[in-house]
Amino acid sequence: MRIGIIGAGAVGALTARELTRYDLEVYIFEKEFDVGMGVTKANSAIIHAGYDDEPGTLRAKFCAKGNEMYSAVAKELDIEFKRIGSLVLAFSDAELRIIEELYKRGLENGVPGLEIWDRDKILAHEPNINQEVLAALWAPTAGIIEPWMIAIAAVENAVENGAKLFLNTEVTDIVIENNKIKRVVTNNGDFEVDVLINAAGLYGDYVSKMAGVETLPIHPRKGEYILLDKEEFGGFVKSVLFPTPSTLGKGTLVTPTIDGGILVGPTAVDLPGERKFREDTSTTIQGFEFLMAKAFKMTPNIDFRSSIKTFAGLRPETPIKDFIVGRTKVNGFFNAIGTRSPGLTAAPAIACFLVEEIQEAMGITFHRRANFNPIRKRIRSYIQMPLEDWDRIIEKDPLAGNIICSCNKVTEREIVEAIKRGARTVDGVKFRTRAMFGSCQGGFCSHKIMKILARELGVDVSDVVLRNEKTKILYGKVRT
């Protein structure tokens, strides 16, 4: 049986990996140059505990479950995941009542370990929180992750287990015969499939329409962020700090990142649904001012002079503010869209659900493959290794001794390995190795990395691109 998956974000990637456990032909179609570069790239990167979601929603169904699954997923895929816990802060009696509501909702959703903390306990744990805090909801299972790594690692593992990845491959049409999926049409040829899963993120409604399945319209809701330098602000907070939520969502948070920096965001601004807005990840002065004001309220000592990066992500929002996951009226066509927050958290649970859902909807049973290997290994990093061991490795592999990224101390070996594993762009190297992620943001090393990319890909350095073929960085030679 041939199963196609449209989109290599967290949802598509984990679903593809889940399907490779079975005796199936799995194709992944991704329109971008690399995997995980859609919604999955730019978000808060929180694996939510699951107390926010109203019981009865798909969010509630998949979030707490997904959270629980992350320990195993992260271990098998060898990606860093830290359960640092989250605090929802209440600054007034009204807010206190809301966090008590969240506590109850959390219990109903099966969220473990929830506690209401008083001011002393909060400040003992997080001394940088505004002293005026009254109480907080503590959720120990909340965690942080590198979101793009979920897609990168899951696709690597899926491909290792036989899935076929088609990058630069945009699905432009879907052919249905007798109300059954027949074929997908792409800019890279046509593919016959028996089952098709739409995990196209922000473009999920377009893809669904290609199959003749009307869905709720998707519009982007922009979220802007500011990242503070870990060298200045590392350790400023230990856990994820949320304000008390409003109708607009979970609010602006202050959180450590896996890399050690402090992330402030997101904003929440609804954009129109037209295609051009689904690419509008620009940041704004108003957005920055909003974020600073919100962050100062929770953590008055924060200092934005230490910012090193700003970015924005787009949530695929629907009018019902919920996921759209499961079978459709077209036989063999399944949706996994409307993946607003907490889609990242929910993704492993959605993936498992889809495997069951497909079998049930189509009245078939998948057969497990005996040789499925659930383990993927991360690119080996040397910086934390005992010096004697590192020294011995360098003796055989000098590239492991050539540090390219000064801030995050990434070696030439890691960069070459990232390219071997599929990085074709500067961003591809960045997201796989954390090179250029630090204080200087590539000021010292981007030219070295571009030269390594050029060498390994066999092109001139002028032909090295930032993220796709339209993003050349250099315009040829100055003097010929």
Binding site: I226, L227, E231, E279, T281, S282, T283, T284, I285, G287, F288, F304, R305, S307, I308, K309, T310, F311, I383, L387, E388, W390, D391, I394, E395, P398, L399, G401, N402, I403, S406, C407, K409, S439, C440, Q441, G442, G443, F444, S446, H447, V461, S462, V465, L466, R467, N468, K470, T471, K472, I473, L474, Y475, G476, K477, V478, R479
Partner: protein, 413 residues
Amino acid sequence: MREIPVDVLIIGAGAAGMGAALGAAREGVQKVIIIEREDRTGGILNQCIHNGFGLHYFREELTGPEYAERIKSLLKDYENVEFKGDQFVKAIDYKNRTVIVVSREGIVLYRPKTLVVTTGARERPMGGILLPGTRPAGIFTAGVAQRWINLENRKPGNRALVIGSGDIGLIMARRLTLEGIKVEAVVEKMPYPGGLERNIRQCLKDYDIPLYLSHTVVEVRGKDRVEEVVIAELDNNFRPIAGTEKVFKVDTLVLSVGLIPQTNLFKDFLRTDPWTKGIVCTSSGRTSMNWIFAAGNCTVIYDLVDWVTEEGEKAGKYAAFYVKNGQEAAKFPLEKGQNVGILFPNYYEEGTNLNIYLRVKKPMDRGIIRIKQRNNLLYNKVHASLMPSEMVNVKIPEPKIGVGDITVEVVEA
């Protein structure tokens, strides 16, 4: 793992590190080693192919690479100095006084008697100024653009806008122009330029490049490549004034928005100045740990490379003294008075000359720089056209200086 004992270990072979090597070598210590990340000496000088270096130190005008070459040749006379390129300092174990260095040849543990930190500065990245808009290809910091053009023979774009009118921004505007890249304008958020007057003339006016003071970028446009950059005028509170927007059709944006002392390796054990982010030093170049010295842009951002070399030499010399006699003198703080924005060094160390570097906070047509130690006036002179962009160097010889805290102020003449 190999272990190498050394008298003076210098981290960074730029203008300050080479100066430090000279200073230490002259004092006749047995072994001076310079560790450098790149494969050659010179640091940032190598990519500064314009003129204007060396007027103080060598009394002639040189290009950056010429200047670097000159110091290197001075060092040739000393057999006690060794340069090691392509080496990366991973960490410093300050308790055991070891320096862990990684390279393609393996890992080496240096055991220095003294350390001189000359790691220079890094450029503030685009995220550091909260640049609004898209983040396409075509945005470069000045140093990165300079490197591509001058060292790698590659073109960063065809039409550019430069943000920041410090010397680096001005010099890059000229370099881009000379290499056939059209520079539409230089944009500066302050009401006065950040660079030297002579650079405004020689880099902008001579090439008819407009300078927009009190302006900033309010939006970068373009999904894949920079397509347009929108600037606007700023009011007194540095907020953009609606209706003053101007749109430039450029494919390249060059940011020259400040240098930050590069101290990441040391900040767990050396004091840094919360305002300048530089390593806190005495007038001998000694840091908050008595066996570690520092000089150059990792201590404070200088205007002239000549000063950097001079300060490096001094730090090297005192590091060598420390190797020889292990002594440390009393020190007294330097306090910032009226209209002093930046002041270096942070302490006066007895027995040294006091070489003060300062920048005013606000421009002043005629100001008196007044330096006092308790009631003793060490210096009191009128200086014309004081600008935050122009660092002032005041030298006070050792015999004039007594004991006690020192204050530096700039008052209206």
